[in-house]
Symmetry: C2
């Protein structure tokens, strides 16, 4: 168990088309473990082998688990395997949240899984409603459904003003993954 518990855990949503959603959740996790809280990040539909996995191995009380394969999901034609992986991720999220053992639970890119209809928004709303009081829940990914925004306490929309991809810069190791 953690050294102390939050008196009241709230629900954050980081959405929008700008850079900074997953990293904001990671940074929040870093700050939380600095105060002795326990953090668990579940990644829905992340393709690459991210640098954050290597970094958190060095930290106590910060766990990251990835579901789904290396291939990016095709939104107009998700495979059965994509659906299975997203549901497994949600089942795992439910276990982790309801155990109450982790103070901050991050559901990374879950908004995209919802937008792609890989999982059902009702199941996510139920998880938000039933979470133990001290658990802080973070949902990231563009296209957060309005029901999720309505159920959340803290919502930030990351708006892209400029992005170097538009000028042809490829994704870079250590920065984008």
């Amino acid at each position: 168990m953690s050294k102390y518990r939050l008196e009241k855990g709230v629900v954050h949503v980081y959405t929008g088309n700008g850079k900074g959603k997953t990293t904001a959740a990671l940074g929040l996790g870093l700050r939380a473990i600095g105060h002795g809280l326990k953090v668990y990040m579940i990644q829905f539909m992340k393709g690459f082998n991210y640098g954050e996995h290597k970094a958190v191995e060095l930290l106590p009380n910060f766990k990251i688990v990835k579901f789904g394969g290396q291939e990016l999901v095709n939104p107009s034609n998700p495979t059965e395997e994509d659906v299975r992986a997203a549901r497994e991720a949600l089942d795992h999220a439910r276990e982790v949240v309801m155990s109450g053992e982790y103070d901050v639970v991050i559901l990374d890119e879950i908004n995209v899984a919802l937008d792609f209809k890989l999982i059902d928004v009702q199941d996510v709303l139920e998880l938000i409603k039933n979470k133990p009081k001290h658990v802080e829940l973070i949902l990231t990914g563009r296209y957060a459904p309005s029901e999720v925004i309505k159920a959340a306490d803290l919502v930030t929309f990351m708006r892209e003003i400029k992005h170097p991809y538009r000028q042809g810069l490829p994704a870079r190791k250590g920065i984008d993954y």
Copy 2:
């Protein structure tokens, strides 16, 4: 020296009134050190004793240095001490960036220091212009001046959609600091 260097470091700005600016920079740093890059965060005008300081002590190649006191700066009446601390922070930033030893340099809340006129925007533009090619430079804080936005490669505006402070929830240890 780092295991590898970025071929081209770019300049990020995270601004706006929403939560997630400092945490996005922290998360980016976490990802970067996972790939063996070296990260240095310089905090302008941060009042509290933040959890991120404790957490990064556990990490190799991630350094955070804070300038200024515990008291928040009064924007309509900054003290001489506030100006001195912000200038010291900028001088230190210049040394760290120009040394080329750190791959990712984060100037946390520098946009606020600029907005409060504690430091001069021309000095910051010069730093952006003269930085070594491989250095990724991250500037955070609301009220980023238009000159800084123009000079940056990647800009995200964090827009507050909802915030529990508005419902009277105080800042919480492990989440907000």
